[in-house]
């Protein structure tokens, strides 16, 4: 009579290995791991970040502020958020503050190939949070030193901004707007204008 060898030890080993590896994968999903690095290096070169252009909130909320820095790959970059001391981020209705960390990177541009850049950011209510977030449109950018002024033409108003020493400009609007509703122009010292953006 043939006796089949017991598979019990093998089964137990397989079970333990599966559980341990599965557990490790689950831990990866459930815990706060360092994120993988992606894309171009938009992280800042040391000692290049400064708080720069500012704009009032249209509903009297905390002031908006740009942070400008040079990236590791030699581009000029910016982030934007509401100001809290020497930090920028998001100020909630209850006064709590979520910081936008410098090292997370922002939007970078190589100004050798263009006179100015412009970015339109829209913020509106986040359905999964308890608070109702106000709608805002943030128009910001960076310009070369030969750009004397930035003119933003909307349906209800027109704003002319003077870029900062590092070329930063910032405007904040109530509601959500896009390039369809806003035209942005850069002008040189002689007043010659070029349309930028879409």
């Amino acid at each position: 009579m043939m006796r089949r060898r017991s598979l019990r030890p093998l089964g137990l080993v397989l079970t333990l290995v599966s559980l341990s590896v599965g557990g490790a994968a689950a831990a990866d999903v459930l815990t706060e791991d360092p994120p993988p690095r992606e894309g171009a290096d938009t992280t800042p070169r040391p000692n290049t970040a400064t708080l720069d252009a500012a704009a009032v909130d249209p509903a009297g909320g905390p002031r908006w502020r740009m942070r400008v820095y040079e990236s590791q790959d030699g581009r000029r970059c910016s982030q934007v958020g509401q100001e809290s001391g020497d930090r920028i981020g998001h100020v909630r209705g209850d006064g709590g503050f979520r910081e936008l960390q410098l090292h997370e990177g922002g939007s970078c541009v190589q100004l050798a190939s263009q006179a100015a850049s412009v970015i339109i950011t829209t913020l509106s209510d986040v359905p999964v949070t308890a608070e109702v977030e106000p709608e805002r449109t943030i128009v910001r950018g960076l310009a070369r030193p030969d750009v004397a002024a930035i003119r933003i033409v909307g349906s209800s108003d027109e704003r002319t901004l003077e870029p900062s020493g590092r070329g930063a400009f910032l405007a904040v609007y109530e509601g959500t707007l896009t390039f369809r509703e806003l035209d942005v122009y850069a002008s040189d010292a002689n007043g010659a204008e070029t349309k930028i953006g879409d």
Partner: protein, 130 residues
Amino acid sequence: MVGRRGLAVPRGVIALAAIAAASLGALTELASADHFHTNCVPHGFVHGTSTGDGSFHARVEGGCGNPGKKTCTLYIYNAPYGSSEEVGAGDSTTCNAWSYAGGRECAATARVDFDSVFESHPHNAHNWCL
């Protein structure tokens, strides 16, 4: 004849092993989801300081001649998050929408679009959990 002892592995252990193996397969697939890739330019979902602190970004790098408008929009639980950014055609600037109000990072998606370079498409968080 094979005796009862020949069956060796109890059904409970077999079931447990099957569940663990299935979980491993599913979780490995989730953890390796395509959260960021390069199609002419690098783009996708970018985690902030960690994969679970609620700070994350939808990002499209400039490049490929910047022929069209770049748009970056965040979603959470497959619904619009409320943060979007656009950079016009001809502008090499990075498009980078930030999760200003926080939220459950593993349930977040970055939807990105670059006219004349690639169509609008989603990238889920690296640790996607829905």
